[in-house]
Structure formats: C-alpha cells, structure tokens
Amino acid sequence: MSQTPDSEAIVSALLTMAGLSIFDDEKAALVGGFAANRAAVDALYKVPEVRYEVPALTWSSVV
C-alpha cells in the first residue's frame, strides 16, 4: 500500500494526543504501517450487513 502524505502528520498528532513519547524508529514503523492499517479499518465501515447492527457489547445497570 502506498504511503499517504499525511500518515506522519496523523500518527504524530495521535501520539501527541495520547501523551506518548516514543523512539524515532518505533514511530517510523507506526507511520509505515498506518495507511494499510487504516484501509483495513475503513473496510469495516463498508460491510453491508452492519447497517442496522448493534455492537457486540453488553452493558448492565446492575454491578
């Protein structure tokens, strides 16, 4: 997958927002994998059957 020009800016912003200070080589690896990772996640929004589906999460008012 080709790298989007914004991957570095996006990853930098997300890491900053998360308060993470990571090593340069680790950041480079995250940036390098970001576009492919994002494409895989974007595909989840294109599953037709999910349109009216509720998430596989349960919540109870009773602890």
Binding site: L15, E26, A43, V50, P55
Partner: protein, 480 residues
C-alpha cells in the same frame, strides 16, 4: 521426564490409582525433566519445587486415606505468569506491573479450582510481557525457545506452558488466549491447546490484555487431558462479569460418546490458502492426511468458506490493541522504556484507532457471529490450519511487525468470534517441526470440539511425540 513415567494426565491418574506411581514420583519426574532443559529453554519464571513436593505428599496421603479429589488429584501443572497463584508474585513478565495488582498469596479462581481438585502447581511459566509482543533480549526475562529447535520460538504468549509441556516439565498447564496465545505455542511445540468458548473459564485473577477476547485455556498432551482440565476450570465467577453461566459439562465423559467414532458429525474445512502468504512444503499433505483421519473416524467432510475473514482478523487486532492501550494508560506515557519493544509498540498501535472504529469493529463482530452461527447450522465443526508454517526463527522475528513474523498464523479470526477452538498436532515438517490444525465449534459446544480432537488422537500419535534434550546451545541472537 523418564521414558517410563506417565506422559498424559489420563495415564498418570490411572497409575496413581493402581498404585504404580505416586504424586511425589510424578512431581520429581517433571522436576527432573525441567532440570534437563532449563535454563536453556526458558520455561519458567519461578519454580515451586519445595511447595510442589509438599502438595504432592498431601495428595499421596489423601489417596492412601481414600480421599480422591478426582482426575487431577496429584497431577503436576504449570501456570502462565499472568495468572495469580498463592505461591508467589505474578510478574506478567514485566518491569511495569505493580506487585499489588492482586491480593498477595491468593489464587486466581481458575487456579483455586485446580488446586481444590488436587492439582499440584509446580511453577509459573514464561510469557510475552503482558501476553503480547515478542521475546525481548534487552529485558531481564528468559527467551522461550522451542524444544524441537532451540533457534526457534516456542510461540506465545503462553510460551513457557507450551515448551514446558513438550519438554515434560509438567503434565498440563494454563495459558491464556487473546489472539492465539494458547493455540500458537501448542502448535509450535507439538501439544494440544484449547481456547474454550469465550466466558467458559473465568479470567478473574488474570492480568488483562483484551477484555472482550481473553480466555484462560488448558495446554496438555491430548484432547482428553484438556477435557479433564476444562471440566474443573469452567464455570462462572462473580469477579469476571464476562464469565458464562451456561451449565458446565463433564467434558471428559463426553469423549466417550462414540469413543472415537465421529459418525454423523459434519466437518467443514477451509484451508485458508487464499489468505496464506507462505506454506511449508509438508503442509498440504499433512492437512490432507489429517482430514482423511477424521473421515476415517466417521465424519463427513465438506468444503466451507469462512465468512468475513479479513474483517474479523482486523477486528481482533483493533480490539486487542484498543482495550490494552486503555489498560496501560498512563504507564505507557511515563514508563515507555520499561516495556518490552513488542508490547509497547502494540499498545501504541491502539492509540491510532478512534472510538467509532472500536464500536464499528464490535458491530461487524456481531455480524460475524451471526454469519458464523448460520454456517454452523450446516456443519457441526470447522477445521482450519493453526499455522501453515512452523515456529519462526528467533533471529528473524520483528517485534515492530508482529503480524509479518506470524503471517501464516490463522488463530486471530476465531478469537474475534469467541467460538471454542482447539489446536491439535497433525505431524511434522521435513525439518522435524510440529504442525497443527484448529478444530472450532459452536459456542458452548466445547465438548464436541474436544471429542473430534480425541477421535483424531485415538487414531494418531503425533501428540505423544517428545523432543530430545540436548546440551545447552550457544547464545542465539534475538531481535530487539
């Protein structure tokens, strides 16, 4: 372990009750086996030699007095070091985990159940830090090596339970499985490992990785041994709100239904070739022969296609990364360098997903569950490869690209769905490395999954193969 000592829990139980062995002898045998392999193999983070012998003596005294706690009475077990045991601290193989994360001196419920059933805990086994990532030579923990080839990884994250089982350092053990951490080491080390239905075994007292994925599961020589362990481990616990209240079966007795006969059982098969980047030359024949054995046992074999495969693999990674990143805040902000490379990289990945991404993943996960449920009305079980390649070389593993190092691993899909899935050894590569298939079933039909594995193992002996200890190897390079 000496050649004349029982190899399986079933055999050991028979020998104990026949009076041809004792729990002390079993424990001494596994301790001797561990001595033969350690520290080279990196099985243990802690060994409880003295308390194990004391517990074995109690077990022997009880049996002599007519007190029989059941099939695990006097059986030596190992416990992955993210699960609490009374004997000592749990480290999660981490410099970060606070000692007070759980009550000191208290067993996790699953360990307490095993202990109450008479099991003897012989030690805490190695893992990846927090059950994620890869071996990291820069940290003060053992590198878990594969007893079939010590230049290779044992698999993880239940690394020490996998290689310890193969080495004979215990007769059964506990692992945890969030994306394949029971099934992967079982496959790489040539033993049997069960990811039970999600919620079947409570995970209270276990350091979390992915809240909606984690499960404690047995590794043992055989499906029958896994059945014995699961019967004790299963059942709800109030401290784990995700633990299930469905009735617990006697999984071992369920194996006797048909006694190895699978007549009437419909098995769907997907070789997943279309998603597999690389395959060992021996794999196609091993897979085909395994299916022949199931067919010969009476099963009907049909081709199926796993639905939403890529999506559910993505969902496993997204869910595990998001849930674990939340758990590790704020430690990853302040103690980044204290974490192993593979673990911290994975947690950082979790910060690159959005909240809508996580929710969308759970919505697609529900679709996946429904689609799989529909497929499992047409077949009773599904067989897929655990991995189409054997254990990777430690020197070639890349902590920052874990899914590349594990590109032939096919465990993640079933973790997203929560179905019971067992890894069963089916033979060896040309280089003598174990290979395995996964058998998956409907939720809470763990018994049928175990029964299929047992039927296969009644016809084969791959699960009984044992690696040969060798003199300690020279240090082997590991990626950091």
């Amino acid at each position: 372990m000496a050649a004349d000592e029982p190899l399986t829990i079933v055999e050991a139980g028979r020998a104990l009750r026949a009076g041809t062995t004792t729990s002390r002898a079993l424990v001494q045998a596994v301790q001797a086996a561990a001595d033969q392999w350690e520290p080279d193999l990196g099985i243990f983070l802690a060994r409880f030699n003295d308390t194990a012998l004391q517990a074995a003596d109690v077990a022997d005294q009880e049996l002599a007095a007519g007190v029989d706690r059941g099939p695990l009475h006097g059986i030596p077990l190992g416990v992955k070091d993210i699960i609490a045991t009374a004997e000592g601290p749990t480290t999660a193989q981490s410099l970060v985990l606070e000692p007070d994360w759980t009550v000191a001196g208290q067993d996790a419920p699953v360990v307490a159940r095993l202990r109450n059933a008479g099991a003897v805990i012989v030690g805490k086994t190695s893992t990846n830090e927090y059950a994620i990532g890869m071996p990291d030579a820069s940290k003060p923990f053992p590198i878990p090596r594969n007893p079939w080839d010590r230049e290779r990884w044992s698999g993880g994250s239940s690394a020490g339970t996998g290689n310890g089982m193969a080495a004979g350092a215990f007769l059964g053990g506990l692992g945890t499985d969030t994306g394949g951490s029971v099934r992967m080491p079982a496959a790489y080390c040539g033993v049997t490992g069960l990811k039970a239905t999600f919620g079947r075994v409570p995970k209270s007292g276990c350091v979390p990785l992915g809240y909606t994925l984690d499960g404690v599961g047995p590794l043992a020589r055989s499906a029958a041994d896994c059945a014995l362990m699961l019967s004790v481990m299963a059942g709800p616990d109030p401290e784990d709100p995700m633990s299930a209240w469905q009735p617990v079966e006697d999984y071992f007795s369920a194996l006797s239904l048909g006694a190895g006969d699978l007549t009437g059982v419909r098995i769907g098969v997907d070789n997943l070739d279309r998603f597999t980047a690389a395959t060992d030359d021996a794999w196609p024949a091993l897979f085909s022969t395994a299916l022949d054995e199931l067919r010969a046992a009476g099963a009907t074999i049909v081709d199926v296609e796993l639905p939403l495969f890529r999506e559910l693999v993505t969902i496993q990674s997204l869910t595990m990364a998001s849930e674990s990143a939340a758990y590790h805040m704020p430690d990853i902000q302040g103690r980044w360098a204290d974490y192993s490379v593979g673990a911290r990289y994975f947690f950082a990945t979790g910060t690159t997903y959005s909240a809508p991404d996580y929710i969308q993943a759970q919505r697609v996960r529900r679709v996946g569950q429904k689609t799989m449920a529909a497929l499992l009305t047409e077949v009773d079980l599904i067989v897929t490869p655990t991995s189409t390649l054997p254990a990777p070389l430690l020197a070639e593993m890349v902590p920052r690209r874990p899914r590349v190092s594990l590109s032939a691993l096919h465990t993640f899909y079933w973790s997203s769905l929560g179905n019971p899935t067992m890894s069963v050894p089916v033979g060896f590569t040309g280089a003598g490395l174990p290979m395995a298939v996964q058998v998956s079933g409907r939720p809470f039909e763990d018994a049928l999954v175990l029964r299929a594995g047992d039927a296969y193992q009644r016809r084969t002996d791959f699960h009984l193969a044992r690696p040969v200890p060798r003199p300690a190897a020279a240090p082997i390079a590991v990626s950091a």
